[in-house]
Symmetry: C2
Subunit: 182 residues, 2 copies
């Protein structure tokens, strides 16, 4: 995974230091991954050099100065562009969660679009898995059968969650538009 977009997305939520980003991810490794300091800091430096973020150095008496990074206009534009384009091959779960956690940086319509895309991808993955299994479920080895069951269970749960979440977001959108237009 490349953490460039992800780090930018975290800064899209609110200005943070590299240390803050790392802290926010502690306990979430299994869902989003946990980039090392080396990775975060160098990503931050690169983003700064490209003008996608700005820094504010906050000196502290004893501890090294905090460097709080904020997203720039150019950075927000790139984030928007990135949000619009889907990975053609399909995001991994971690990549999806990375997009999900920075939902605040994008519009509700954009978020709905993300979830719709994810729904399609997961549905396709589930379908191809089921197809594979139908043909050779009987003669498949134990390992393959276990993976097959496991994959179907995870896919079904994710589809259900996506449908549920999309439903709630859709209701909110209707309600908001109802207030605006009525």
């Amino acid at each position: 995974v490349n953490y460039r977009h992800f780090v930018l997305g975290m800064l899209g939520k609110e200005p943070m230091s590299g240390y803050d980003i790392k802290s926010a991810l502690d306990g979430l490794e299994w869902l989003v991954g946990n980039p090392s300091f080396g990775s975060i800091y160098s990503t931050l430096h690169a983003l700064l050099e490209d003008g996608l973020v700005t820094v504010q150095v906050i000196p502290q008496q004893v501890k090294p100065a905090r460097k709080v990074y904020s997203i720039s206009d150019a950075g927000r534009r790139l984030l928007q562009k990135w949000e619009a384009e889907a990975e053609p091959s399909g995001d991994s779960t971690k990549a999806f969660v990375m997009r999900l956690i920075m939902a605040d940086s994008i519009s509700r319509a954009g978020l709905i679009e993300q979830l719709r895309r994810r729904r399609e991808q997961v549905a396709a993955q589930r379908a191809s898995l089921e197809e594979d299994g139908d043909g050779n479920a009987a003669q498949a080895d134990r390992g393959s059968r276990l993976v097959w069951e496991y994959g179907l269970a995870l896919a079904d749960t994710e589809l259900a969650w996506l449908d549920d979440t999309l439903g709630r977001l859709f209701e909110q959108t209707l309600a908001t538009e109802g207030v605006e237009t009525g």
Copy 2:
């Protein structure tokens, strides 16, 4: 991820060529990952050099010769050793599926042990997630809340699947032992 153990585990199921391994993984990228040819072939070369696998070259008229790799005794020993030791930090989902798919290379008792360990890890992840959420569910941003819900849903499904699978394996073990001893 390091594909060394995984490739060895695939060969533990049955002798295969590099191309076979890659083919077996097509359509399973989202679950186990899909190493590139470059990665698979160099891994195979390294395993060969370490004496963990052997090759059998099968010439073909027009196509390049198939190189079918088989696991050696040393390889099987290493696989057993690897199976016994758990990643201290907890496996990622992909790493777990990698272990799962090569269930045929290990004993049923070993498999049960694997699933038990995974159950512990997922339970711990779920617990820390819930703990995090309880404190600041109200003031958390939308993205964090979505990830929280998503993570709980996935964790619950996996726990249920693990319990179910462990139950079935346990029954089979009892049945087998029943035949043996009675």
